[in-house]
């Protein structure tokens, strides 16, 4: 058991492991995305209130969920890196940040496009979840800016890990405060008591998209970590051997 973790933390081992893992994430991920996109656009019936405009949730919901999940990965990986001084964990955090920021932007953009026909405006200030996502995007910007401003990688890793942990403590408070600030949004439909309030013909494509997005996110993250590990270990023996072998 422990040897497994020790091996996992070793960059060359993880570099090879990630290579074998990527297809296991990418293939099911893209298959689910193809099914989810087709079913979401053509098989699911139009909503009785929102018409075809509701179909954007097939992108919006997975992106919004991944934007928060990526920040949690960032904070947990940063914490592991700080506490157990695991270099690989910092590489994971560094790789997760740009992907998380992209999903946050995607969630904001799709939310805004959905808001245009629904609320009659591109940006609805009174919607608490849109505001929380925007603040989350700012948190990502701050995190990446801090990383970029420190030249020494080890120092940048630790400083940004502290920031990510402080941010992670604040995320629920931000959400709560923004919710208190105002409330006008359609309530949660997927996670609530008595099962989802959604027809299965609409629900299955959404679930497929959520899992598809997650798998593709995993594949993207692994790919970025591989590059990050190579860059960080560029002066080590095994990278030189790897390059010479090609």
């Amino acid at each position: 058991m422990w040897t497994f973790f020790h091996k996992l933390a070793s960059p060359p081992h993880f570099y090879r492991l990630a290579k074998t893992l990527i297809p296991w994430f990418a293939v099911p991920g893209y298959l689910l995305l193809v099914y989810g996109t087709y079913a979401g656009l053509f098989l699911a019936p139009p909503d009785y209130q929102q018409g075809d405009a509701f179909r954007i949730i097939y992108v919006h919901v997975p992106a919004a969920y991944l934007s928060m999940m990526a920040y949690m990965i960032l904070a947990v990986a940063g914490g592991i890196g700080l506490i157990w001084r695991m270099k690989l964990a910092h590489a994971v955090a560094a790789s997760a940040a740009p992907i998380g920021a992209s999903f946050t932007f995607l969630a904001l953009a799709t939310g805004s496009i959905w808001g245009r026909p629904m609320w009659g405006t591109w940006w609805e200030w009174t919607d608490p979840r849109l505001m929380s996502e925007l603040i989350l995007l700012f948190l990502y910007f701050g995190y990446m800016a801090l990383r970029g401003a420190i030249d020494d990688t080890a120092k940048a890793d630790k400083a940004s890990a502290v920031l990510a942990l402080v941010g992670a403590v604040n995320v629920p408070i931000i959400h709560f405060s923004v919710e208190w600030w105002s409330s006008l949004h359609q309530g949660p439909t997927l996670v609530r008591e008595g099962g989802p309030a959604m027809d299965t013909a609409m629900l299955y494509p959404l679930l497929a998209m959520i899992f598809g997005f997650t798998f593709v996110f995993g594949a993207m993250l692994l790919r970025r970590i591989r590059t990050e590990v190579l860059h960080r270990e560029r002066r080590t023996r095994w990278v030189k051997d790897l390059v010479l072998a090609d």
Partner: protein, 232 residues
């Protein structure tokens, strides 16, 4: 407290000593306190100039304007929290001291609040009157500012510790601190607005107090960790 064969002051004495030293430094150079205060007053004047002098608008925007100006003034003063100590090397002495760094960082943050948060609270009624705020609301404004600036000092000390010694530190400090400070701004400004319109506002005060207590118990640890990282 005895470390090795050297006797050092106790924990509380260390905390108060650090705070006292910072207060003395500010006393010798009062510009550091006055500049953010002038900034606060000027930002509050900018809004009526930009929006127009109509009384209803000023009454309506008052709480928000005062709170945003206070937040910006706090940010402005945060930059110098660790900077001069970093430049003259006394920050390294703090790191090397046998006292726990958490308490020393708390002492510095306490001194920062006394010299930048508290003056804002004291100055705010003057500007609030200019925004036609009624007397009771001014009391609420001062209470929210007092609680809110404590949180801002503590949150900002984490950001200041992370960015100390960086070249583009000032802009970065705002970028790091502002998103974290948004709940404080929301609770502060909304509570004053609620009080101004005669609604129930106690929940905002409780939330601000809870945030201040949470920040007081967690932020010094993050600040201490960040100071160690920045000085490696």
């Amino acid at each position: 407290m005895t470390v090795g064969n050297v006797t050092t002051p106790g924990l509380i004495a260390g905390l108060l000593g650090t705070a006292q030293r910072d207060l003395l430094l500010v006393w010798k150079r009062p510009g550091d306190v006055l500049n953010p205060l002038f900034f606060f007053a000027m930002v509050c004047t900018l809004f009526p100039l930009a929006v127009g002098p109509s009384v209803e608008q000023l009454e309506f925007a008052g709480p928000g304007v005062l709170w945003v100006a206070a937040l910006l003034a706090m940010l402005l003063s945060l930059n110098s929290l660790f900077l001069s100590d970093f430049e003259d090397g006394s920050l390294e002495q703090l790191l090397l001291s046998p006292q726990p760094l958490v308490l020393l960082a708390l002492g510095k943050t306490f001194a920062h609040w006394l010299t930048s948060g508290l003056p804002l609270v004291i100055l705010s009624p003057l500007l609030a009157v200019a925004f036609r705020m009624p007397g009771e609301t001014i009391g609420v404004l001062m209470a929210t500012l007092a609680l809110g600036t404590i949180s801002l000092s503590l949150l900002g000390s984490v950001g200041a510790a992370l960015t100390v010694g960086l070249h583009r530190g000032t802009a970065l400090l705002s970028l790091l601190t502002l998103p974290l400070a948004m709940p404080v701004l929301i609770f502060g400004a909304r509570t004053v607005s609620l009080a101004a319109s005669g609604d129930l506002y106690s929940m905002g005060i409780y939330a601000l107090a809870a945030y201040a207590v949470g920040a007081l118990s967690l932020a010094p640890f993050a600040t201490a960790a960040a100071l160690r990282i920045s000085n490696e």
